[in-house]
Amino acid sequence: MNSFGNIKTIAKRELVAYFTSPVAYVFIVIFLLLNGFFTFMVAQFFERGVASLSASFFMWHPWFYLFLVPAVGMRLWAEERRVGTLELLLTMPIAPWEAIVGKFLASWLFLGLALFLTFPVVLTVNHLGNPDNGVIFAAYIGSWLMAGAYLAVSCITSAITRSQVVSFIISVVVCLFLILAGFPPVINLLHGLTHNLQWLVEIITSFSVITHFEGFQKGVLDSRDIIYFLSVIGFSLFTTSVILRTHRTS
């Protein structure tokens, strides 16, 4: 109960901080503009005539998140270290993991809010046809989990450095790997490189967010996919705590 209260306090502070700085508004506007542009212009949603959002809307999310989520996550710990508030935070009567989880949850909820604000797309598709809203709901869940996985990776890179720019670049690269490992052209390349060693290719592709996001887009809530995203988050947050501890001991 006490831990819950601490996490809530930390998360609340973080969320308030997002909305007192322009970061939140810029992020939401850009995210919505990108979604609108790619769904309606690039993917030609209207011309398709299909009452589904997978191929026109959700397919872009791994790529949007690639740049946008590290931009949200880069300040999480880098800023605390640069300004020196980390010293304040870690001398408060809270456990470090509570601070880590609280800050992560705040950013994740914020990403959830941005995702929620894309609801006009859902209204549009419902107005025009009869889509399977269960599938759309599952894809939203998957998209949010995927954003969480990216965010957790950004937590690590943000804890590594004082510089937000360095943090941003490293997390983009790591997230790019998470995408590319399941990107069809790369899979073909891997088949060639490994001389069709199926098991090796499967291991590599199983690390990819794309592979695990696909199921959600089809409306399948597979426990393995959910566990994948949650374990990326868990592992990354644990690594963050180890990095923060190492900074203090060395």
């Binding site: 502070r13 304040l88 870690l90 001398t91 009567p93």
Partner: protein, 317 residues
């Protein structure tokens, strides 16, 4: 209240803090003195549980900082050296957060915030963003955060750094007043602060405690302690020197001739010798003396002798 035993911190090859032990009880204000880089901040960071020590223990109110950090940290208030505060919040938001994370909710939180806002004179900037504050206000905001839960123990790293003289005075008064009921440790390199606020002082140099005592005890280590300074009219410097040098209790005499007569200082052979004043008065009988005073001893000189002489010696080796 707070007890430190054999605290050591090693960064790479450097022993930043080396076997430091001391304790502070309720009602004490301990001044932590030392040149820059002596290990003051590192010691305070270990006291407050930010840095884990390489070896040694910190006990706060009976709780070992490394074994039971949470109950130990509950008893502490801490003002870090750079007085950090969340720049993307208002002063009020920041203080509300600090109160909440200290477990103060609802009415208790409101009362606590109001109390520190009054104590630290933050009323006028309450709704201002922290990153628009001047240095003095930011410092006081962070100080307010450290006392928001009325802690039993306060650890303040250079609490008056960057403040103007009036603010310095206010903070010192506040520290002295709070020190009656709390255990306070504060670091400084301003020596007047030791006199203004401390009941005890520790001088630390290159990670080692080199002096520990009340300001009076420390001051008595100075050759100035108990020295007599007098100004004599109508005599020349040579005569004054000859006469005063006859005193057997005098270690040395310094004489300086000026426009308003000759100023002479007689240093006692044993520091704090009370007989010296009487003897000086006796021997100068018949002279016209315009001023006479007994020196208290100078902390800055003690500080210099303890830290610089050793540093200089090490450097020549």
């Amino acid at each position: 209240m707070i007890k430190v035993e054999n605290l050591t911190k090693i960064f790479g090859a450097k022993r930043a803090v080396d076997g430091v032990s001391f304790s502070v009880e309720r009602g004490e204000v301990l001044g932590f003195l030392g040149p820059n880089g002596a290990g003051k901040s590192t010691t305070m960071r270990m006291l407050t549980g930010f840095l884990p020590p390489t070896s040694g223990t910190v006990t706060v109110g009976g709780y070992d900082m490394s074994e039971q950090p949470i109950p130990a940290k509950k008893l502490l208030g801490y003002l870090p050296e750079s007085a950090p505060a969340y720049t993307d919040m208002t002063v009020q938001g920041f203080l509300n957060f600090a109160a909440e994370i200290r477990g103060l909710r609802g009415e208790a939180r409101k009362t606590a915030v109001r109390r520190v806002v009054d104590l630290c004179f933050l009323e006028s900037v309450l709704h201002q963003n922290v990153d628009t504050l001047s240095k003095g206000y930011r410092h006081r905001t962070c100080f307010a955060q450290s006392i928001i839960h009325d802690p039993d123990i306060l650890v303040l790293d250079e609490p008056t750094d960057g403040l103007d003289p009036n603010q310095k005075h206010e903070i010192r008064q506040l520290i002295r007043k709070m020190g009656e009921k709390k255990a306070i440790i504060f670091s400084t390199h301003i020596l007047e602060e030791v006199d203004a606020a401390c009941t005890r002082a520790i001088i630390i140099d290159r990670g080692v405690i080199v002096a520990n005592g009340t300001p009076e005890v420390l001051r008595r280590k100075s050759e100035w302690a108990g020295a007599v300074t007098l100004r004599i009219l109508g005599q020349d410097a040579g005569a004054v020197r000859d006469k005063l040098s006859q005193l057997r209790v005098a270690k040395k005499v310094s004489v300086e001739a000026g426009a308003n007569g000759v100023t002479a200082t007689v240093f006692p052979r044993t520091a704090g010798d009370g007989d010296l004043t009487r003897e000086v008065i006796a021997i100068t009988n018949g002279w016209q003396i315009s001023e006479l005073r007994t020196e208290e001893g100078r902390l800055d000189e003690v500080f210099y002798n303890i830290t610089m002489s050793e540093t200089a010696r090490k450097e020549t080796q």
